[in-house]
Symmetry: C2
Subunit: 451 residues, 2 copies
């Protein structure tokens, strides 16, 4: 509601002067959204209405493709100023998207300090702490007093991403302590930093995966975390706003992979070709798996011909078993994702899933038998009994697969979400059908249950 109002209040303004006034008064992220949804040609016009500091703030909130567009249509001097003022982590993200030629040109025009900061970040692999950190943080020497520290913080420019923690380094720039601004404010100015700063510093390495950084910050309720290199030297910090984005991205990826959508870029508004590229491979994989499964099912065609009721029962069978598997799979993958469980808990979870599965198996098997009383003619009711038994078995197989597969992948240090829901469903189909059709065939040929 709040956001809607903000956007509408912009859109309704006819007069250019008033628009200018509004655009400079609103929150940067709202102005960013407004500019993004304008027709391409009007974006640069609207952007030029912003005063310098607002322009810098808004620019960071634009999506990379709009940033690129503006870079093309603004004067070089303006562009350099914008890029120079971006925080190093946002700049690295933009440079990732821009054509190499443009990046090279921009890098040459940046100040030495900012050029080095950007080059450093771009040197770390994607998805690591080094890549998402910012180099703008507050650091203090151990020997300072609180009073000196506070005036040093006051003198540093306002650009630092957060001043709420200050990091204390020794003479070799090694990170040794951390102190919160809160502690600094609550202590007498002549006390030495080292007397109040804590030496229990929670930190990460440049190569720590970003998901792990997010987990640690969430666990310890931190609003910023320091990043050190292999020599324990302080090289950057990661702030809470980036962590929220990381956690959301991670959840989106888990959700999408479970549904058989690979990668994390298939947003609801992604271009159709991207969507096809993310989804079709899974669909074709499922079909390929069925070639295998079908060559095992095909020989049973005569069985199906003599008991056509099977074709009515099998889909129900398949869908319920698949759902049981996907339920267990989803709960396990999410549990791994939020760090609630680790591969060490495999047996514990399996025990729980099998206990719950046993109850479910009984309920589903019984329902199946009862249902087949509705569907089947009296002479075919034995099919329902077999179906009920296999459905119960299938339920237990389903929870076992749904738990074991992601746990196994995690133990092998692979992404547990590599096992998507459709994959589990397909496996369960193949296993269930095989058991079911074999039993039916056995009943027909050996027990002579049908006529």
């Amino acid at each position: 509601m709040l956001l809607e109002d903000a956007r509408n209040s912009v859109v309704d303004v006819a007069d250019l002067n008033q628009l200018k006034h509004e655009l400079n008064r609103l929150q940067p992220v709202d102005v960013g959204d407004y500019i993004t949804q304008l027709p391409e040609k009007q974006r640069a016009i609207a952007f030029r209405l912003l005063n310098k500091s607002q322009a810098i703030d808004v620019f960071e909130y634009l999506p990379p493709e709009v940033q690129e567009e503006l870079i093309d249509s603004l004067h070089d001097a303006q562009v350099v100023q914008l890029v120079e003022e971006m925080s190093p982590d946002d700049r690295a993200e933009l440079f990732d998207e821009l054509p190499a030629k443009v990046v090279k040109r921009l890098l040459q025009q940046l100040s030495t300090e900012q050029r080095q900061a950007t080059a450093t970040l771009l040197g770390y692999p994607e998805g690591t702490a080094g890549r998402v950190m910012t180099t703008e943080y507050v650091w203090l020497r151990e020997g300072l007093t609180i009073g000196e520290a506070l005036s040093k913080i006051r003198r540093q420019d306002e650009d630092k991403e957060t001043i709420y923690y200050a990091y204390v380094t020794d003479d070799n720039r090694k990170l040794v302590r951390v102190v919160s601004l809160r502690q600094l404010l609550f202590t007498f100015p002549d006390v030495l930093i080292r007397e109040i700063a804590s030496d229990r510093v929670i930190k990460v390495q440049t190569e720590t995966p970003q998901e792990e950084v997010a987990r640690i910050m969430k666990r310890y309720d931190l609003i910023a975390i320091p990043v050190v290199d292999r020599e324990e030297r302080l090289v950057g910090i990661i702030t809470i706003d980036d962590v929220i984005d990381i956690l959301e991205e991670e959840a989106t990826e888990d959700i999408q992979k479970l549904a058989g959508v690979s990668g994390g870029d298939d947003g609801a508004l992604a271009p159709p070709l991207m969507t096809i590229r993310k989804r079709l491979p899974w669909l074709l994989a499922i079909m390929a798996l069925y070639i295998g499964a079908s060559s095992a099912i095909a020989p049973f065609q005569p069985v199906i011909a003599s008991v056509p009721l099977l074709a009515v029962i099998m889909p129900l069978f398949s869908n319920t078993g698949g759902t049981v598997g996907v339920q267990a799979l989803t709960v396990t993958i999410r549990g791994l994702g939020i760090g609630e469980v680790t591969p060490k808990d495999t047996l514990k979870i399996l025990k729980k899933e099998l206990t719950a599965g046993l109850g479910t198996a009984l309920a589903l098997g019984t329902t199946m038998v009862l249902l087949s009383m509705i569907w089947a003619s009296p002479s075919e009711r034995w099919v329902g009994v077999i179906a009920g038994m296999v459905m119960a078995t299938n339920t237990l197989v389903a929870v076992t697969l749904g738990t074991f597969l992601p746990m196994g992948l995690k133990r092998l240090k692979l992404d547990p979400a590599l096992i998507s829901g459709p994959l589990v469903t397909t496996m369960l189909d193949a296993i269930g059908f095989m058991i079911f059709l074999s039993l039916i065939s056995f009943a027909l040929n050996v027990l002579h249950l049908q006529h």
Copy 2:
């Protein structure tokens, strides 16, 4: 790794004195985890080793059932002290879980101030800003100077959840401005608060749903947000650590509902009965739906008897169509969940999904036809052609359902995740089978394609 080390270092300690030393030195959350995983009888013993301030911090990190256990086994005076020192939002959460009798007893023993704070929070419905906010925040009167404000902040006790923003109220306690500690530090002490504090305050109402609070804080990169009542009076703040938990819970709920697991409490380690209660209803619902579908499919049994190949093709058919539907459903529900799209975008998304769906339909239909060349005898190849056509149609139906259903629910202000994956799969099965079997039957009886 960091966490593992911390835990192991505790567990390995044999000597009680050293254990005491370790427990008082470690991060409260790690100590909380250590105590939680102890056998029930040892928990109170370990907890008693903590000094007062560590005990207070650790207590907040314990799960409600362990908190309850400790409340039972500690002296009343100790319990009251612990509960008195908890932050009001954590206390409200604990009281939610405790038996009413215990809550009543504890409330009576709290200080008036804390009792009122808790009663206020418990008065708001679950899942609203009022319920998750804390009443411990920094507020200032408009007329103060920066210097006066800073010494007021210094004088307030250290309990405030965050001192990084101070909220400025008028004489009626109405929230009028906000100022960051950063701004206070960077300005001369004799400047008046009202000259630097911003009047563009981003705030929420007590009844704002917690998910919306989380979205707003994420959007504007806030580390705290003020909560006002209907008269615009400041009543509390919500801090970023709570928001991260809300976002994660919300993602977990979306993921689980998509897989057909209702509610949000079915963690990987939930008790089996809870698991059954969360999952079985969906499974039975699916079976119930199939009763409807099957009565429509059952009449086709003679068709299946004469073309048993159908029973081999139908599962493939069903699984692929279902997957396509779940892919579209998942991307749409997640898009709604993270606020990337709103019901207004329905047509835009549908257009995109149908464009992508057309490509997918062609690819899948063609593959189906080719596959049936492998499976089918020459005289049955026409079945493959029909299967390919229906598969293509089914793909388009699938993306339409996967997009429309959650969008429609959202427009009706219902939870879009009410439509789970299994539900969509079941619908698609019913629709697909019906079309397929009707066409096959038409081909057999009217076109006489078989023999």
